[in-house]
């Protein structure tokens, strides 16, 4: 288990688009102690309760620092998440969409999930302040948002 995360709290807010937005607040980075370790276990349990199996997969992506916040000169932003297979997925900052097969099948087709691991990882990284930062041109941003950029 990571020795970095402790004393976390999970706040669930009412959803947009039928999806629950989760705000994860972190306190300081401290060496793991027994009581703090219990808090971490509780947070992971809460995340799994709300988001299902993708919660642990998302935490793995967070540990791997897989999320990059792209920004362009116009001020437009997007998330880019490195999946387990090494493929890059572009996600929006203000609403839920991911081009991955899991989002298409589990969320859209079967309505069995709230979001995929990539979207959840983006929210968690943003909350924890561990998002990578990268600048792209306005034209590159347009290509990424439209899905026409070369992966």
């Amino acid at each position: 288990m990571s020795s970095k995360v402790e004393n976390t709290g999970v706040i669930a807010e009412r959803a947009d688009h039928g999806v629950t937005h989760v705000a994860v607040s972190l306190c300081s980075f401290q060496p793991v102690q027994n009581d703090l370790l219990c808090n971490v276990v509780m947070v992971k349990k809460n995340l799994k309760f709300v988001f299902g199996p993708c919660a642990l997969q998302a935490l793995d992506l967070v540990d791997q620092r897989s999320v990059t916040c792209l920004s362009s000169p116009s001020g437009r932003k997007a998330f880019q998440v490195m999946g387990g297979s090494g493929r890059l997925y572009t996600c929006f900052v203000s609403c839920h969409y991911c081009p991955c097969p899991a989002f298409a099948y589990t969320v859209l087709r079967r309505n069995e999930g709230l979001l995929c691991k990539h979207i959840l990882a983006a929210y968690l990284c943003q909350a924890m302040g561990v998002t990578q930062q990268e600048s792209v041109s306005d034209q590159q941003m347009s290509m990424l948002l439209s899905g026409t950029a070369t992966p």
Partner: protein, 267 residues
């Protein structure tokens, strides 16, 4: 540093509040006119810059729309930029590029309209619901999410420039080939594309034709019932634009006369 301080600093802020978005569902012969009327009204009466996306070239405003806006000036029409993407890929590219300076200068659009989503989403063969392709749901979600995210960004730009034209709104039309009305004793059919669109559009504006004999007896060409539904009616996203939400109208009757005149009547 105290734990409380760091908790305040690192608490994730929720995503920016989504903008007002509405999906007009019904026969495209009427929805297209309604969308054009919305564009003309926004440009002429509200001074908004409008982006209007459609596959069909518009040579001139339909007579029904001209009659509703008799004092429309060429200057007002210049506020509406028409774009004719041929495919859903072109549509995605054009919407994705709305953040670029060529589209936000001198003023960014505050109304984005997409006419006949089904013509972009359901392929060249028209409705493909009998042979449903899962990729169509993902495409519908991508397009809808891009519209919402783009509108959210443009809303921020409008607010930063202290304009009175914000927030940026999205209106799209969609005609389903699935009859989702429930027949007694039978479960109502669902349109998988419409299910996806409902995830992203806060308000559904349904156009339902009145096929009773009263319309013909009254000398009307067509009578339509228009009603609003969806979480945006009771949600808070559009609330700040409505001082009295309890008085927000939700149902109208649209009468189309033989001379193409459209008249809206509050129910």
């Amino acid at each position: 540093m105290s734990q409380t301080d760091l908790k305040t600093d690192l608490t994730a802020s929720p995503p920016p509040q989504t903008t007002c978005s509405a999906l007009v569902v019904g026969d495209h012969s009427v929805s297209s006119s309604v969308l054009l009327l919305a564009a003309v009204t926004a440009a002429s009466q509200l001074g908004m810059k409008v982006m209007f996306f459609t596959q069909t070239q518009i040579q001139s405003l339909p007579a029904s729309v001209q009659k509703c806006a008799p004092s429309l000036s060429p200057e007002c029409l210049k506020k509406i930029k028409f774009s004719y993407p041929r495919t859903v890929e072109e549509l995605l590219q054009q919407i994705a590029s709305l953040h670029e300076s060529t589209n936000t200068s001198p003023t960014p659009p505050s109304l984005i309209i997409v006419d006949r989503l089904e013509s972009f989403l359901c392929g060249p063969g028209g409705g493909s619901h009998s042979g449903f392709h899962p990729g169509e749901q993902s495409c519908a979600a991508h397009l809808s999410a891009l519209l919402c995210d783009t509108a959210a960004f443009l809303t921020q730009v409008l607010e930063q420039r202290s304009t009175s034209s914000g927030p940026c709104r999205v209106i799209a039309s969609f005609q389903s080939e699935v009859d989702t009305r429930q027949v007694s004793g039978e479960p109502s059919a669902t349109d998988p594309i419409l299910d996806v669109l409902d995830r992203y559009f806060q308000v559904r504006c349904t156009l339902d034709q009145d096929r009773g004999y009263e319309a013909a007896a009254a000398g009307l060409q067509q009578v339509w019932h228009i009603y609003l539904s969806g979480r945006g009616i009771t949600g808070g996203s559009c609330a700040k634009d409505c001082e009295d939400r309890t008085g927000l109208a939700q149902e109208w009757q649209l009468m189309i006369f033989p001379n193409d005149l459209m008249e809206f009547k509050l129910v």
